[in-house]
């Protein structure tokens, strides 16, 4: 009985670091740049939350934040689409999540459209 108890304690201890690997792959705070075909890049932040499989979020969380109108993830391709009604025109980010095994270098890379502007973006999970 005592041995079994010790084994249980050891297993619980081992499982603690594993808990860090849970969570939705899109969830979290992302920082990155929108780089238009011509012109200077614009730095923005995304905050995405997951609840029961539903994704919601804000662009530039904090003062003046804009609630996302839609966040959809295709788990087959890890394609993530984010839409937000920014004052410069609706922002649509179409990209792919990569490096999902990393907490420090997870990427969301793709292309964007905002009003008449088009370009590329790259975000890193904070």
């Amino acid at each position: 009985m005592f041995v079994r108890l010790l084994m249980l304690v050891a297993c619980l201890g081992l499982s603690a670091p594993l808990m860090a690997q849970t969570g939705h792959p899109a969830k979290g705070s992302w920082s990155g740049d929108l780089t238009p075909a011509s012109g200077a890049p614009a730095h923005i932040r995304l905050l995405i939350n997951a609840h029961n499989g539903d994704l919601k979020g804000t662009v530039n969380p904090g003062k003046g934040e804009v609630a996302m109108k839609g966040v959809t993830l295709d788990p087959a391709t890890w394609g993530l689409v984010v839409k937000a009604p920014m004052k410069e025109g609706e922002l649509v980010l179409t990209g792919t999540l990569s490096n999902l095994g990393s907490w420090t270098n997870r990427k969301y890379i793709g292309t964007y459209v905002q009003g008449s502007q088009k370009g590329k973006f790259e975000f890193t999970l904070n």
Partner: protein
């Protein structure tokens, strides 16, 4: 009997090693930070990790060469709660002014001593472990004007 002892020994070893992982993160102020390297940062919070033995938050700051991301260490979650912090005090996107000390190795890492919420100019002490740092509640809040 020998098997039983071996199992107990292995279980104890594994449990001990696992428990020691958190202890690695605990260190004295002087081992990592330089008391003479003053730090004054104004930026936006991008992440908060309420972990023991130290809470960390990350700040995007406009530096001379571009955007910098600083990692700032505070006291334990329990210590911060006793100083008036809640889990919502530092939401992602909050603009703050931080006073503290920089890491000895010159990286973008610091020990936060006080955090001022830029919107309200409310100052919160961050549970710094610097021995000669005094949390003086009566001291004037500097570097902030209410918006």
């Amino acid at each position: 009997m020998n098997t039983k002892i071996a199992v107990i020994a292995v279980a104890t070893l594994v449990g001990g090693l696992t428990a020691s992982l958190q202890a690695f993160a605990h260190h004295s102020f002087a081992a990592e930070f330089d008391g003479d390297k003053k730090l004054d940062l104004h930026g936006v919070v991008t992440k908060v990790d309420w972990t023991n033995p130290h809470t960390y938050f990350y700040l995007e700051v406009q530096g001379k060469k571009g955007l910098e991301t600083w990692a700032l260490e505070m006291g334990s979650p329990n210590g911060l709660m006793r100083r008036g912090w809640t889990k919502d005090t530092l939401a992602v996107g909050t603009e703050v002014i931080v006073a503290g000390r920089q890491a000895r190795d010159g990286t973008l890492k610091g020990n936060a001593q006080s955090v001022i919420l830029a919107d309200t100019c409310k100052r919160l002490f961050a549970g710094s472990s610097q021995v000669d740092f005094v949390e003086d509640e009566s001291a004037k809040v500097e570097g902030c004007t209410k918006k």
